[in-house]
Symmetry: C2
Subunit: 335 residues, 2 copies
């Protein structure tokens, strides 16, 4: 079977050097990323990829956090450096890297729309966006021109969870302890942002926008009953906002928008949730992805375990091909 890995992470050299020297990274981001060499060392990364026959990666930046590291005066430049770096790596090794996704300086929305346009014209196969922009919800109107550009391109958004600073502070009291904020909070964040994309009207304004939610949709597929029945009753629990009118103004049932998103298989190689997630999105809306190199082996672990799970579960040959590479070919525009 051929595999195109839709969502995995890498820092191109020039961007990585700037990252570890940035003031914001000095505290612990620098230390953390240095502990995973296949995240920035190209030779090591190629060795990881070469362990798997007929397997290529669409590269995404390590974390969509440009706006956390640099202010709006610097972030547009750093996005260009990151995106051009990924483009270069991918173009030099087309047999290992099927393509790349571009990252945007979300703390500079106008520059972000321009960078999306530039990167997509330059061949970017997707746009990676964090579930929040330095703590701000990304359904605000100021970000809508970005989604317009992406929809026009036909390329998908790769939606990556990002912890809000506000959440981190808040959870100081009840949630951040024990790293709950990243382990459970990230998939929750993903669900929150998908919901806001629907209820803010973004999905009605840009109906052809394709959103691939990392980690098989976060918490959404498991909460199928709630996003169905509970969102159908939107407004019943609230007295100070007229959500009933909002619900009526939407072009579809909330549930149907959720079903129209995409998920990737980056759930650390587990079986039952994989079946649940594929059942929710359907084989046309799931893409193979590994989250490489964030496994314990720091490279091949999740690629191997994700392939093993897909071999184990019941899928028709046609559906398996869609998930493993055909959906990626179509959505990313790769051969």
């Amino acid at each position: 079977m051929r595999y195109i890995d839709a969502f995995n992470h890498f820092f191109p050299k020039r961007y990585f050097d700037a990252l570890v020297e940035s003031p914001a990274a000095q505290k612990d981001i620098g230390k953390r990323v240095r502990g995973i060499p296949a995240l920035y060392d190209l030779d090591l990364r190629l060795k990881v990829v070469d362990q798997f026959p007929d397997y290529t990666q669409v590269l995404s930046l390590g974390l969509p956090m440009i706006e956390r590291l640099w202010g709006p005066e610097k972030s547009p430049e750093m996005s260009r450096i990151a995106n051009d770096g990924l483009a270069e790596v991918a173009s030099k090794h087309p047999d290992r890297f099927a393509g790349y996704s571009a990252t945007l300086p979300m703390n500079a929305p106008e520059a972000a729309a321009r960078e999306a346009e530039r990167a997509l014209k330059n061949g970017a196969n997707a746009i990676q966006i964090g579930t929040n922009a330095g703590g701000l919800a990304i359904d605000d109107k100021k970000y809508w021109p970005i989604y317009e550009v992406i929809e026009k391109s036909g390329k998908p958004i790769l939606l990556h969870p990002a912890r809000t600073r506000e959440m981190a502070d808040f959870v100081g009291e009840t949630k951040s302890k024990y790293e709950i904020c990243s382990v459970l909070g990230w998939p929750f964040e993903t669900g929150v942002t998908l919901s806001r994309f629907i209820f803010s009207g973004i999905m009605d304004a840009y109906p052809k926008l394709k959103v691939i939610a990392h980690h098989l949709g976060g918490v959404i597929p498991y909460l199928e009953g709630r996003i169905g029945h509970s969102f159908d009753q939107l407004g019943v629990r609230t007295s100070d906002e007229d959500y009933g009118a909002l619900l009526k103004s939407l072009k579809k049932r909330p549930f149907d928008y959720f079903k129209n998103f995409y998920g990737d298989t980056a759930i650390e190689g587990v079986r039952a949730p994989m079946v649940c997630g594929i059942d929710f999105f359907g084989a046309d809306h799931v893409l193979f992805a590994s989250d490489c190199p964030f496994d314990k082996e720091k490279g091949p672990g999740y690629i191997r375990s994700t392939i093993a799970v897909l071999d184990e579960i019941k899928l028709s040959p046609a559906d398996k091909e869609k998930i493993c590479f055909r959906n990626a070919q179509k959505m990313f525009g790769v051969g």
Copy 2:
């Protein structure tokens, strides 16, 4: 098939009358609960139950929110009124109500431990606890005597999600809009509290404590990969707390504690998440429950759809009996 419904909601009359007249309930809680008559009208509730042959309910209070409605000077008394009310309803209609769970005044921890002891001696079949106590995490040491009492009784905790006030405020910015806080935030809260029960040491201190997490474990089963692999790496992402030492101090792998919790089937009658959740907890750790009367029909909807899903999915006859009534018989001590 016989069914014992482990988690569903009802307000006994004397408590309900006080609730709708309480100052805190005037705003919207009163309005909301009045909209669902089978939540407090016993005749209507009996008619709902009677629609299903060989089906009984273990009654739980409407919401575990006594501490939101009354201060610590009043909440112990209101808990007694609620618990004695449920006891009376259950004892008068044993053919419809197999038992009841008691609620505690969590804003008065010492009184809560005493009320747990009193109610359990009085025949309560479980203790219902919210995932937070008026916004405070419930793994704080001041609550541990409550868990000691419950563990000794052999009866389970029914863990019900509760929105924190802090969360509501926080999510004002990025999350509370569109009722995301209850639709997605509640199952997240459940996962947070289960995690804190493990990492705070409660499950090591009270290893026989049984916790039944409403809504089939909240988000936990779907995040199997993360609670496995990510919690195994606790401390790697954090620089200001020594979570590595905490991890070593636990008696088991974090994942194994999660697998040792229980879930109920109250997920609004959906199939794929039901399979996923039962796979995670195992048939010995799942109990039939409907969340009656919070369906659109305000009574029988989720009972019917949950029975239908359990009929549809592949379960051995022995496993199905465990889920539908045998686990409940054993854990609640009912005939």
